[in-house]
């Protein structure tokens, strides 16, 4: 049975709703159920780490926007799926869609609602990000054998470092 909402995934949650004395049946996949704020027994985890690892490994689809490897620390999507740990902050950018989906499954939300943080020296972080982007581009340029581009990128990286 297909989910009534997204019409894509298998419906796992079967709800009987009574609205104005009319009984209706709603069939949802776990994700759509979670979006509607419906708690299922599946969202209560008895063995959090085990279930979590299972959730990571079950994610077989590679999202189109996701890299297969983090250019900064070298962690691959496969490494992440087998260990359940990312290697650095840049992995959150490299595997953003997979991680967003996973965070939604584990926490029921992807949006931080806690203490706000402003870095003492935001420039450090901006510089790190720029460097990171340049390194990504450099790697791609080398893969594509675009050596002129690569040389110019390398100079920019050296300048920033």
């Amino acid at each position: 049975m297909v989910c009534d909402q997204c019409r894509e995934n298998d419906a796992k949650v079967h709800l009987t709703q009574i609205v104005e004395n009319a009984v209706t049946q709603v069939h949802l996949c776990e994700r759509c159920a979670a979006e509607r704020g419906i708690e299922t027994s599946g969202s209560v985890e008895q063995n959090p780490l085990g279930d979590f690892l299972q959730a990571v490994q079950q994610q077989t689809a590679q999202y189109p926007g996701d890299a297969s490897r983090c250019a900064y620390c070298g962690t691959s999507l496969r490494d992440f799926r087998s260990s359940g740990r990312v290697g650095c902050s840049h992995c959150y950018g490299a595997f953003e869609q997979s991680l967003r989906e996973l965070l939604r499954r584990v926490h029921g939300s992807t949006r931080h609602q806690g203490w706000a943080y402003t870095a003492r020296d935001p420039e450090i972080m901006t510089k790190e990000l720029t460097l990171q982007e340049l390194r990504d581009k450099l790697q791609r340029a080398v893969q594509d054998e675009a050596f002129e581009v690569a040389a110019s990128l390398r100079d920019q990286i050296r300048g920033l470092e």
Binding site: F52, V86, H112, A119
Partner: protein, 361 residues
């Protein structure tokens, strides 16, 4: 290089003081925050040099901060295996950082900064694991202190941060607030009345989880449980901590109720069982660790029911930690085989109880 653990402020055991609310039932309250520094790979992925740079940045930052200026810094990778076990027995260092799961090998540049009521683990799964401990049931107090220390540290060093996801951690189960609020709680009444399974199941329905005395993967011994939050994203630190407080308050009520029922319906059976536990602890010549833990649980219950007087909660807390093997080895000044540790444990427990009885007498 040798490390002198006697220099730890309060021995890192401030939380044993038995001073807070419901201290007979709730031994301690703890807030843990997971943080990483921007610009470095996370410890499991980082090279040795990077791990050292993380440690040095933290040491420099700590020297400038009021809350960490006087912290004792212990390089775990320079400790002997026995010292690492001792730090773990005091809850200052996780199994992972103590290298207990890997053949006696502590991670490079692994360290712990210890102040009176807090510990900061460095280069564990994340660069920073800040832990604030409070004696008794005081989650809000621990949270306030953790927030203060976190703000100080975060204004000195750039944390790994994401606009949408919040604080970034090695494991996505900690992403967002990086918070785990927990209590170490003694529930013999619920175990004896066999209500515990229902209570633990209830916890899970409330989004909380439980473990044994020594956290992840440890057995439930002596009716001691760690009840903790699990979710870290989508709710504020205060909301997450408050959820734990509300549930634990209810668990305490049920434990107290179970104890009343036990006394009412099985008074002399319980009394006999607990006095026997006290008798064994006071006179045994050899005590295996598990047995000691279970007997201590009985004596703790007896004190809570006012069956045995003159036994302070502080002494009972202390017995729980100091009767563990690395502490006994330190006391005896040498490494002990299991058999020797059992002898040393019996001797130590006997002495402490005799002393306490003399003081009360």
């Amino acid at each position: 290089m040798t490390v002198d653990l006697s220099l730890l402020p309060d021995g890192g055991l401030h939380w044993l003081g038995a001073s807070g609310d419901h201290a007979g039932i709730v031994l301690s309250s703890r807030i843990r925050l997971a943080r990483n520094l921007a610009g470095f790979a996370y410890p499991t992925r980082a090279r040795e040099g990077e791990r050292l740079r993380v440690l040095h940045s933290l040491r420099d930052a700590a020297s400038k901060l009021p809350s960490l200026r006087d912290a004792a810094i212990v390089r775990v990778d320079e400790c002997t295996p026995q010292q690492r076990l001792l730090l773990h027995e005091r809850h200052l260092v996780s199994r992972e950082l103590a290298g207990l799961d890997r053949k006696d090998e502590a991670p490079t540049a692994g360290a712990v900064f210890v102040t009176g009521g807090a510990g900061l683990m460095v280069n564990e799964e994340d660069h920073i694991r800040l832990q604030v401990f409070r004696s008794g049931f005081d989650i809000p107090g621990a949270l306030r202190e953790a927030e203060r220390m976190d703000r100080e540290l975060g204004s000195e060093l750039p944390y790994a941060w994401h606009q949408e996801f919040g604080f970034l951690t090695a494991c996505p189960t900690n992403t967002g607030t990086g918070l785990r609020a927990s209590v170490l709680i003694h529930l013999p009444g619920l175990v004896l009345t066999q209500e515990i399974a229902k209570v633990l199941q209830g916890l899970q329905h409330m989004g909380l989880t439980y473990r044994g005395l020594y956290g992840e993967g440890s057995d439930v011994l002596g009716n001691f449980f760690q009840i903790s939050t699990q979710t870290t994203l989508g709710r504020s630190e205060e909301e997450l901590a408050d959820q734990l407080v509300r549930v634990v308050r209810r668990v305490i009520e049920r434990e107290e109720e179970a104890r009343r029922v036990l006394l009412r319906d099985a008074g002399y059976i319980i009394e006999d069982k607990l006095w026997r536990a006290y008798g064994t602890l006071s006179h045994a010549r050899t005590l295996p660790a598990d047995e000691a833990m279970n007997l201590l649980s009985g004596v703790r219950l007896a004190a809570g029911l006012n069956l045995i007087s003159g036994l302070s909660v502080y002494t009972l807390n202390k017995l729980l930690i100091f009767s563990q093997s690395a502490h006994l080895a330190q006391l005896e000044g040498r490494a002990l085989t299991d058999g020797e540790a059992n002898l040393a444990r019996a001797k130590y427990v006997r002495q402490v109880l005799a002393n306490e009885a003399r003081l009360a007498g």
